[in-house]
Symmetry: C2
Subunit: 395 residues, 2 copies
C-alpha cells in the first residue's frame, strides 16, 4: 500500500516536473536554495528561489511533523531535526542524506553554533540537550537539565544559538533558563537562571541574540532575559499574557518563534483571541492590539519589517493576513486554502513562500503587490527553510 502510494507520488511529480525530481544539479551555488518539509512522507524538496523551482526530493527522513532545519556555514548542508529524535545531515547539491542518527526519543528542535562546528538538539525524552559535531554528527556533550529536588532530567524547549559559541534553552519541569558556552567543548560551561516562572514551554531570542523570551505554561506572563547583562536574571513581562488560557494543552500554545519584530515593535499572537498584541520594544509593554481574522499562529515580519504576515489556527487555517507595520492595520486578507502551516521570506524579502498542506502546494507571493506569482506541488508541505538562515543569529 505504502509502495503504491510512493510510486503514485513519484509518478505525479515526474509528470509535473520532468527529470529534475530525482536528481539535483550538482555544483549549483546554494545561496538561493532551501528545503520544503513534506511532513506526511518523511521527505523534503530541495528548491531554489531565483526561478521558483523544485530541484529534487530527498526521502527517508523519519517523522517530520514539527520538523525544523538549520544550515552549515558554507550552506552546503542542511541539518533536519525530526520529531522522532532523528537528526539528518542532507547534502543540498547532491540531494541526498549524508548521515542520519537517532539522537533521542522525542526531539523538539535544534540550533547550530556561531562557528558552525556544533549542532545542539533539545529533547523531551530523555530530556536535556545534546551537542553534536556538525561534520560527522558524533556526540560532543550530553547536558542534562536538572530538576531541583529530583533526579529526573527536564524536557528542554526554546533552544537558540547566541554569539560566543553559546546556546540558550529552558527547562519545562525545572522552571530554569540555561546558557551553555562551548568555547571548550569538552567542558561546557553552564549558567543556570533559576525560578524564571512555571513551565516555560517555548522561547525565542531577538535577532541580535540579546533578548531571550520564554513563554510560561504554568502561569501568566513571559520571562525575559537580557543576555548582555553580566549577572543574568529573568524579568517578568506582559503579566496578563496567557491569562485565563491555562487549560490549553501545549500544542495549542502559539509558537514564540512566531513573534514578529521590527525596529520598534514586536507583534505576537494573543492566546485564544482574534488579535495580535503589539509591544513597544523600548519598554516591553503592550502598545496596542490589532484585530485579525481568527486565532493567529505565526506572525512573521518581512526582512524589512514593513509588513507582518499572519496565519491562523484550525478551523480558520485557510486564511493569510498582511498587516502594515506603521498603520498597524490589515491591508490584505488572502484565502490560500486549508492548512496554511508556515511562511518563509526570500532573504531580502521580495517574495514569501507559503505551505498550504491540504492543497499539497506551496504558494509564492510578491510582498509588494501581495499577489500570488507561482505555485509549486509538494506533499503535505509544512516548514520551509532557505539557506540564508546559515548567516542569522538565534534560529
Amino acid at each position: 500500500m505504502k509502495t503504491w502510494f510512493k510510486l503514485g507520488v513519484s509518478l505525479f511529480l515526474y509528470l509535473l516536473l520532468g527529470f529534475e525530481v530525482s536528481a539535483c544539479v550538482t555544483g549549483r551555488s546554494t545561496g538561493d536554495m532551501g528545503i520544503i518539509i513534506e511532513r506526511a512522507s518523511g521527505s523534503l524538496l530541495v528548491v531554489e528561489h531565483s526561478h521558483n523551482k523544485i530541484l529534487c526530493r530527498v526521502e527517508g527522513l523519519g517523522d517530520l511533523s514539527h520538523a525544523s532545519a538549520v544550515y552549515s556555514r558554507d550552506q552546503a548542508f542542511a541539518y533536519i531535526f525530526a520529531r522522532d529524535g532523528g537528526l539528518s545531515k542532507v547534502d543540498l547539491r547532491e540531494g541526498k542524506v549524508v548521515k542520519r542518527i537517532i539522537q533521542g526519543g522525542n526531539s523538539i528542535g535544534g540550533a547550530i553554533s556561531q562557528s558552525g562546528k556544533y549542532i545542539a538538539v533539545s529533547n523531551y525524552e530523555p530530556g536535556g540537550v545534546k551537542i553534536f559535531n556538525s561534520d560527522d554528527l558524533t556526540l560532543v556533550a550530553d547536558i542534562p537539565a536538572p530538576i531541583e529536588g529530583s533526579d529526573k532530567r527536564s524536557k528542554t524547549v526554546g533552544l537558540v544559538d547566541i554569539p560566543g559559541e553559546q546556546f540558550v534553552y529552558s527547562s519545562f519541569e525545572g522552571n530554569d533558563i540555561f546558557k551553555v558556552d562551548l568555547t571548550s567543548p569538552e567542558k561546557p560551561q553552564v549558567t543556570r537562571i533559576q525560578n524564571v516562572g512555571r513551565q516555560p514551554y517555548d522561547a525565542l531570542v531577538s535577532d541580535d541574540g540579546r533578548f531571550y523570551i520564554a513563554g510560561l505554561f504554568g502561569e501568566d506572563g513571559l520571562a525575559l532575559v537580557d543576555l548582555w547583562e553580566k549577572e543574568l536574571k529573568a524579568k517578568r513581562i506582559l503579566n496578563h499574557y496567557g491569562k485565563g488560557e491555562k487549560k490549553f494543552p501545549v500544542y495549542k500554545m502559539p509558537h514564540l518563534e512566531g513573534w514578529a519584530m521590527n525596529r520598534d515593535n514586536a507583534f505576537l499572537p494573543a492566546i485564544g483571541q482574534r488579535q495580535l498584541l503589539v509591544l513597544d520594544l523600548q519598554n516591553w509593554k503592550e502598545e496596542t492590539r490589532i484585530d485579525v481574522k481568527a486565532n493567529p499562529v505565526f506572525a512573521m515580519a518581512q526582512p524589512d519589517g514593513r509588513q507582518i504576515w499572519v496565519n491562523f489556527a484550525f478551523p480558520d487555517n485557510q486564511w493569510l493576513q498582511v498587516i502594515d507595520a506603521v498603520s498597524k492595520k490589515v491591508v490584505k486578507t488572502i484565502e490560500a486554502g486549508k492548512g496554511v502551516l508556515h511562511m518563509e521570506f526570500t532573504p531580502r524579502g521580495e517574495r514569501v513562500w507559503v505551505s498550504v498542506r491540504n492543497k499539497n502546494e506551496v504558494q509564492i507571493y510578491d510582498t509588494r503587490t501581495l499577489e500570488k506569482v507561482s505555485t509549486l506541488p509538494a506533499q503535505s508541505p509544512s516548514g520551509i527553510f532557505f539557506t540564508n538562515r546559515a548567516h542569522k543569529i538565534g534560529l
Copy 2:
C-alpha cells in the same frame, strides 16, 4: 618590469600558499566565501572563512582603489565596481572574470536590486546612474541626475538598494535625493526630492531599508529621508555635524557607510575630531561622545551590535579600537600595523577580517577574546566582502 613584478608576486604567493593560488576548488559551496580587493595590483583574492583560507587570485580588474563589491543572489558571482568605471563579473568557484565592461569614466560604487536582476552604478563622469542586467551586464537604463537650471548631469553618490526593486542615490551638484523604481525596467519610475541640502557627498541606508541619510559637503548637518513615508521629504538632522570642517576635500570626509548602527544607537565618526558621536535612534539626536585614539574613518558594528570596531585616518592608521556598545567605552586598543583600511565580520560575527595595507596582510581577530587568530598574505589589501552580503538590504 611589470611582468617581473607579476612573476615575483606569483612566486611569493606560490611559496606561501602552494598550488591553490592559481586554481579555485570548483564546485565548492560559496556560503562562507568572499573576496579581498588588492588595490595596487588590480586583483582580488577569493577566500573562505570557515578555515581562514585563500583559494585563488583573480587578476585584470583595473584600478581598484576604493573598489567595492556586491553578490548575485545565488552567491555564485561577485560584481566589482572599480574606480576607473570598470564593472566586472567574477565567478567565485571558477576564480575567473566572466565579463568586464567599462561603463563610465569614473565610478564611485554600486548596488544590486532586491530580486538580483539589476546592477546599478553611480558615476562621477559622466554623472547619473546606469542600470545593467546582472546576467550579461547589458545596459538596461541610463538615468541622468539633472541639475536645476543646467543641462549638465550631476555626479551621483550614496547609491543603495531598497526593497521593492528600487535604488536611492544623491546628486552632488543637484542637491537632490532620487529614488528609482525598476519594477518596469524599460520605464524606470524616478522620484525626486529637491533641495535636501548643499552637495550631498555620501549616504547610507539603515539595514531595514527605511532611513536614508546623506552627508552634506556644502553645509552642516545631514539629510534624513524616511522611505516608509508616502510623500518623501528630507529632514535635517545633526545640524552641528561637520561644523567648521567645510574646507576638507571630499576624500577626507568620513564614509557614511562607516556608521555603525545597533538596535538603539548609531555610532559615527566625528569629522576632524578624535571622537565618535553616539546618536539615539529614537530621535536622531546626539546622546553622547566617545573619545577615541585618533580621527576615526570607519565605525563598524558586529552583527550582534555588541561591539563597535573603529579604524583611523593617516597618520594614525595603524590602530584599531573596540568599543563596548552598552558602556560606550573603549575596551581594547590594537596596533595592527600601518594602513588599516577595512574590516569585515563573518556573517554571524565570531571573527573580523582586517586589511592592513602596508604590511601586505589581512589579520583575523576573534571578536570575543579580541585576539588575533590568523594572518593571510595579500598585496595592498583594501576592501573585504563576504558573500552573505547577497542577502542584505541596503549595501
